[in-house]
């Protein structure tokens, strides 16, 4: 009998996307503020 899982992959994708956006946005923010140092 095949294993069945809850269908909630959309939440996983949303969380990974949010985390990536926050980290990349902060990295860009730091780059813009420190590029002239």
């Amino acid at each position: 009998m095949p294993e069945t899982f809850p269908h909630n992959a959309g939440y996983m994708v949303a969380a990974y996307t949010v985390a990536a956006v926050i980290l990349v946005a902060y990295a860009v923010s730091l780059y813009r503020r420190t590029r002239n140092l």
């Binding site: 269908h7 909630n8 992959a9 939440y11 926050i22 730091l30 420190t34």
Partner: protein, 221 residues
């Protein structure tokens, strides 16, 4: 190579490795049977949470030493660690509810762990606002140090809140006295992710510290 440039490269390496963590977590780590794919949020939520708390502990430690030694570099490090901790806290407070909705059936509940973590986030924001509001550098560093020490004191309460109160939040799976309760492949993915978040914290702090030092030397930089 300046410290800011070293930090930039470290951050870039961290972001590339983060992409590798995403591939490993999403494609090569088994799906947990009861929670389904949403359980994989754990691999980014928990490393971010650990660094949110560790960053505040480091703010507090640097602040204690600053109050004794009056070394401006300690104040700069605390400022840097606080800003990076705020970024990680934002990840924790967004990925947590995204996990909570399918697993608990609600985005948010006012239990001890969630509420105290939200309070830590507000403390981070308050710390950064305080630094922006006080013009005198000496007073700014002293006031911020006191607030940073208060934030550090909150961290153990957050970690042990799941033991002290009846909470909906799960008990620690990794940071507990006994061995981690994760299968080997899941633990490996989590460990790699934690290492990558560590690289990102270091890269971010190097850049932010360089910026803080530059502002101390030229106040309006």
């Amino acid at each position: 190579m300046t410290l800011a440039q070293k930090g930039r490269w470290t951050t870039l390496v961290g972001l590339v490795l983060l992409a590798a963590v995403y591939v490993r977590a999403l494609a090569f780590t088994p799906i947990e049977r009861t929670q389904g794919p949403a359980q994989k949020i754990y691999y980014i939520h928990v490393p971010a949470a650990i660094w949110t708390e560790t960053a505040m502990i480091l703010v507090g430690v640097a602040s204690i030493f600053f109050l004794f030694l009056k070394d401006a570099r300690l104040d700069s490090f605390a400022e840097a660690s606080a800003e990076v901790g705020t970024a990680f806290a934002t990840i924790v407070l967004t990925t947590g509810p995204i996990w909570g909705k399918p697993i608990w059936g609600t985005w948010w509940t006012w239990d001890a762990r969630l509420t105290s973590t939200l309070f830590l986030f507000f403390l981070y924001i308050g710390y950064l606002l305080l630094r922006g509001a006080v013009a005198d550098p000496g007073a700014r560093a002293r006031y911020a140090a006191v607030l940073g020490i208060c934030g550090m004191v909150l961290v153990p309460f957050i970690h042990f809140s799941v033991y002290l109160f009846r909470t909906l939040h799960p008990m620690p799976i990794i940071l507990k006295p006994s061995a981690p309760a994760l299968p080997g492949s899941m633990l490996a993915t989590w460990s790699v992710s934690f290492a990558v978040f560590t690289v990102l914290y270091v890269g971010f702090v190097m850049q932010r510290y360089a910026l803080a030092r530059a502002r101390q030397e030229v106040p309006h930089a």
